[in-house]
């Protein structure tokens, strides 16, 4: 052991040196209302460190710390598409000291497709952080210049058009199946593991089209002209993607593919506490550094709070209940 000590110490020193660099100056001088929050706040991230949800949570955590005057501890609890984290959340004391990030519609699709031990009733929504739109993209050398051409090809030769999606149970797969059902366009869902893999398959010409998140990792390829967006799944056109919406093109139903990242608390959390958190979240959308970290393109122009997020949960559940059953 004696000989082990210097090395262990060296490791420890380097590690603590790193920690020193990494630790932000904690927020003080907050304006705590009533006696909430009275202790550390846990912000659970249902996905692994380094993912988009984690990035959002850490930017948000810093801001909440300043607003609420208590340390916010971001904790990654990845697993089972977020189920592990949600179960942890709803088993915590509903006093606002345990919060979780959430991603819609995955959070809803989880309990629609499997018995995972929670439903939306177990949550008290706090508000929306970011919304990442989705769209149908094809490689630059694809013969399909517009959505109609792609759908026509699928109709004339059923099952010839595979559509790569970032996962099997997420909104994109479900939305693609809805296209087939609602508009009689026989598309084949080809699930990949994440956005990046779909992008590679598209660039390599291995899948004719993709229904993907138009997130930070996809935009560079689109801006460089390697990928072409045929339609976006939002109600209105996006300022940063030059493509029509499904609604414009005559598919008014296809507006459910946007991924919403939000904050939730356990059900039964007192209304005043939720209101405090909601205010803190709203102010995050006005803080430039936070918005910059979240990417301004994805921060909703108008803040969506507790009621709005709750509505979104209900809406998502209604949209996907039938699609998932099969």
């Amino acid at each position: 052991m004696r000989s082990l000590r210097p090395l262990a110490a060296a490791l420890l020193v380097t590690v603590s040196a790193l920690t020193g660099c990494a630790q932000q100056s904690g927020g003080d001088g907050g304006t705590a209302t009533a006696d909430y929050p009275s202790q550390d706040i846990r912000l659970i991230v249902p996905y692994a460190a380094g993912g988009p949800t984690d990035i959002a949570a850490r930017a948000l955590g810093t801001h909440l710390e300043e607003e609420l005057g208590q340390p916010v501890v971001v904790e990654n609890l990845p697993g089972a598409s977020g189920t592990t984290a949600y179960i942890e959340l709803i088993s915590a004391e509903p006093d606002g000291h345990t919060l979780s990030m959430t991603a819609l519609p995955t959070a809803v699709l989880n309990y629609l497709s499997n018995d995972v031990g929670y439903t939306r009733e177990d949550f008290a929504p706090v508000g929306v952080v970011t919304q990442v739109p989705s769209g149908i993209v094809v490689p630059a050398d694809s013969p399909h210049q517009d959505l109609e051409s792609l759908f026509e090809a699928a109709r004339s030769q059923p099952d010839s058009i595979g559509v790569g999606t970032p996962g099997a149970t997420n909104t994109h797969a479900a939305e693609t199946r809805r296209i087939s059902e609602l508009y009689d366009v026989p598309l084949t869902v080809v699930p990949f593991d994440g956005n990046a893999e779909v992008q590679t398959a598209l660039l390599g010409g291995n899948v004719p089209a993709g229904f993907v998140n138009l997130s930070q990792d996809m935009l560079p390829a689109i801006e460089a002209g390697n990928l072409r967006v045929l339609a976006v799944g939002t109600e209105e056109r996006l300022p940063y993607v030059d493509a029509p919406t499904f609604v414009e093109l005559g598919y008014p139903e296809l507006t459910q593919s946007t991924t919403t990242f939000g904050v939730i608390a356990p059900a039964e959390t007192p209304d005043e506490v939720v209101a405090t958190l909601e205010d803190a979240l709203r102010s995050a959308g006005e803080d430039e550094t936070v918005v910059e970290a979240l990417d301004p393109r994805y921060v909703p122009e108008e803040f969506v709070g507790s009621a709005g997020l709750a509505e979104l949960f209900v809406e998502t559940e209604e949209t996907f209940r039938d699609v998932v059953g099969g």
Binding site: S3, L11, T14, P78, G79, N114, D193, A196
Partner: protein, 537 residues
Amino acid sequence: MGIFDGIVQGFSVALDPVNLLYVFVGVLIGTVIGVLPGLGPTATIALLLPLTYTIEPATAVILLAGIYYGSMYGGTITSVLLRLPGEAASVVTTFDGYQMAKQGRAGPALGIAAVGSFVGGILSVLGLMLLAPPLADLAVTFGPPEYVALTALGILLVTYLGTGTPLKSLAMAALGLLLATVGQDPITGTGRFTFGQVALFDGVDFVAVAMGLFGVGEILHSLERTEKVQAVTRGIRNIWPTRKDFRDSSGAIARGSVLGFVIGVLPGGGGVISSLASYALEKRRAKDPSRFGRGAIEGVAGPETANNASSTSAFIPLLTLGIPANVVLALIFGALLVQGVTPGPQLISQEPEIFWGVIASMVIGNVMLLALNIPLVGVFVQLLRVRTGILAAFALVVTMAGVFSVNNDSFDMWVVLVFGVVGWLMKKTGFEPGPLVLAFVLGEIMERAFRQSMLLSNGNLDIFVTRPLSGGLLAVMALVVVASILTARKRRTAFRHVDPEREVEAGAEPTEPTPGRANRPTPDTTDADVPSSSGER
């Protein structure tokens, strides 16, 4: 920007004092965790990831990359001296490295490994500079059928190149593939073999399985042994290999560099496969394969070169395509995303300071590692003077804490325990964990790619042979299988020679039922050992 400008810019980034400090810290941590059994680069990087969020992106990657290739150097030390791989990629080094140590040649074994790693690392960095863009272009055309062929090739290689009976390796590969199906079906999302456990929805965690099989399994197994395994620390004074050592291993180092580089670029490739492949290549090329497993210096030099070369070239798909080739790079990918940098085709042009800075830092890091490993190897070896009982106890606790911290889930600690028992039983029954772990990693990619191929081709199996790349790969595999059947007898004898302990028994066992066993030919390879054991019949 030309390559030359890029290199200049890269060094200006890498020579920045802060970055120099981080390279050093990275390779130091990497070496230490490589030396300590039970804590590999994956767990360490996962642990340190949140700490990198607030430093510059280039610096963060420089640090994490340093840990990764540093661990490739450090892993050698325990493999050679304790026969306990410090991290998975050094498993192969135990075969010959430990034998060399027992012969009092631990010093040259460590020396040649360090030199080989250095050469492999530097050549790989050069390759990274020159070949990254064209290789990226080729790799992007790989579709699901190619992934099926590639993963199948990986599994075939590991069973064929393994150290045990190929049939047993194949059984373990099948077990690994089966294990990979636990959790949600990648295509339909249905839960499989989850027994209603939410913790199993995402499948069994790779880190937990690997740590259980390799780490805890080994520690349990050592409990049973009555004799104490003490680190062989004799003969470490002369680190620098002799001229003959260099002559013997120069070819292995050259081939290991190329092989490691190529395999590192492939998805699912990386340390373990590259070192295994290099070992097999050296053994097949050798005039006298029976030397392998008994302290052949090529058997240390080749794999150690290859695993370091692969740990460098694995950055190619990440930095040019945004595809992490293995678990460690997936973590580094995450670290970059957190910083708002998305690795992908545009990275080289948009964030040249990251691409070239990281590459230049690898040159510096490898020089530092050579310096750390040659003169200072004695310091690291001190770590092993610690009695094995103490080492084992600490390795266990660190393993448990490390596994917990990957997912912050105590369920994974149970997984480690279960696989520790499995690993111990496998040791008792002569099954190898290597094929299981590799098949487990590749299984998920393989199934997904297989089913994607089926979806894209409307269930037509032709898709695998009509595409030139996958067809070609499958043809190579078919050739390997045919060739191996034709040379089966010869190979069977060669396999016996990997593990001398097993070897002795093989000679002693009269009831061996395998056909062809009776007329075991090639006296030049086997007979040397028979006398030592025949008395036991």
